[in-house]
Symmetry: C2
Subunit: 335 residues, 2 copies
């Protein structure tokens, strides 16, 4: 671990993605909930993997994807999350380190294997995610690197952590440390089913502790059990300082006190796999914030990063994000 200032520390489930094409029929046959992230146990993971097509493996994990994107933009990032000391854990460690992200959390040497997320990508580019959390649920308060949190302008948490009590404790501890140090806390709601599982505690958390919130349309509707996007928008405005609401091809709405920005989606040639679009949106937005850009520019950088990821498989960028942003917005956007 270094000791200079950090822009963002992400905390999340450390996961290797296993990605394969699937037909709509496969989802029905395997009884999968399309578009959702479902938690599965080891036996179900084995069963589903058997039924899955030939796959590719790419390091993933929502908050991990975000900090990797941020590092690619030129930001200084850290990550806290738990793998096992097995081959997939080695892959996760290598990939996040190779991206220039500090990753101080020691691997577990006993217990379940490194987490994996089986991702079924249908021809409409939607992803259906079945996650075996494995070693990642071993993340607890003891894994929180206090110094890293204090060094970071923003601590970024994924809603998925809320599913496991020790991870939730780690989450709360990290928020406290960040705020005591005068830093910001950001949260992504992660998944509408995750929001359903924890609606009330998320509402309280956001109201009490979250400075910057990321949510997509389904998530924010679920949070307030709202029927229309605008209803949910009016509610969240009063509960959180800065909010970025993403709406796929409809673009995004950024709210911060009296400011409102409506950002168009960046054009994409071919939508191949939407895995990671939200994670990379957050990367671009947080990068803009820590570099002191206005919210409109933050939204634009975010949209460019999100667009890069949906043109290929996997949630880690293939093209240099800093060049993409500089090409479209001028190099000042990286300053």
């Amino acid at each position: 671990m270094g000791n200079g200032p950090l822009d963002v520390v992400g905390i999340g489930n450390a996961i290797v993605d296993v990605i394969a094409h699937a037909e709509e029929k496969d989802l029905v046959d395997l009884e999968l909930t399309k578009g959702a992230m479902t938690l599965i146990d080891a036996a179900r993971a084995e069963f589903l993997y058997e039924g899955m097509g030939a796959a590719i493996e790419i390091s993933g994990g929502s908050a991990a994807n975000t900090v990797v994107g941020l590092a690619q933009l030129g930001g200084h990032a850290g990550y806290i999350g738990k793998v096992r000391n097995d081959q997939l854990g080695g892959i996760f460690h290598h990939d996040i380190s190779a991206a220039g992200v500090e990753f101080p959390t020691p691997a577990a040497i006993v217990g379940p294997p490194t987490a994996r997320c089986l991702i079924f990508v249908t021809p409409d580019a939607q992803r259906t995610m079945e996650t075996y959390l494995g070693a990642s649920v071993g993340l607890g308060p003891n894994d929180i690197d206090h110094e890293a949190i204090r060094r970071a302008k923003i601590t970024y948490l994924e809603g998925y952590l809320w599913d496991e009590p020790p991870a939730k404790e780690a989450f709360e501890l990290a928020s406290e440390i960040a705020h005591e140090a005068g830093k910001k806390v950001a949260l992504t709601l992660s998944d509408s089913f995750c929001v359903e599982r924890h609606r009330e505690s998320f509402q309280k958390l956001i109201h009490d502790h979250v400075d910057i919130l990321f949510a997509n349309e389904a998530e924010i509707l679920s949070l307030y059990q709202a029927k229309h996007f605008d209803q949910a928008l009016q509610q969240i405005r009063n509960h959180c300082e800065t909010v970025a609401l993403t709406r796929s091809e409809k673009g995004a709405v950024i709210l911060s006190r009296d400011e409102v920005h409506v950002i168009d989606a960046e054009p994409v040639e071919t939508v191949l796999d939407t895995t990671g679009a939200g994670d990379l949106f957050a990367a671009g937005f947080l990068f803009g914030l820590v570099r002191g850009h206005g919210l409109s520019a933050c939204g634009r950088i975010a949209a460019i990063c999100a667009a890069e990821i949906i043109g290929h498989f996997g949630a880690r960028p293939e093209k240099p994000l800093d060049q993409l942003v500089a090409d479209r917005m001028g190099s000042g956007a990286l300053g």
Copy 2:
């Protein structure tokens, strides 16, 4: 293992590919031989992986890629190769089975881990491969499934096997079984450096035992230490029944006794990663042969399959090969 007829059984090194972008400078810094496949030991593999960028993992192995492509075209394929019973071995086993290929070789339960090939892809789409053979060198004569070889119209071998004595023995045993059963033996020369290491024994092998030979330009030049493609072409004509010589964007030349066909390369939108182009060329060509097509049609199917693979990362097809071939040549090509 099934018991119906097989079109092709491939025998090769069972390898998981670890693929990352690299700059020309990285190859120089790490002292890599650009465009070659170099064998490395465990320590060098660890060192190079440290210096490698964030990667993706995809099942690979030259002959394995070929039989997966053949299965995707609708052929019946088997594979013989050695993995360890570790996570990467599980991935290899899953992917080749999910592609519909019979894979009877038991995983090693002791010894080195599953083989991996670190592939550095430079901006010109060339791949530089550093292979740690790990468990795959455990392949020996005892792993040869006699019945599978007898059931197959063609036994397809990769030249890479020639590097390890027990694999070479397995190779020779498989050739004998195939010929005794009245079946054909095909060989790919794999790599010009591999040819250099074994030039004389390859010449003798081809002359004595190989019915169908695949080679690219560098390999066939190296085999005969020829300066010009045409020189090598005149020599190989007299040494092997059927020969397919590939020349990247210049297309391919197919020779069989008095027949000669010059096949144009299939147009490709973006050349991203040439890993597996030769393997998929062989898949298409062998598929055409076992379906009884003329050599010109075999070459065309081969060119279509090779073009699919170089537009994306990895050596396993992303698009359904049968549809691609049917779209461009009519469904008769699959009959």
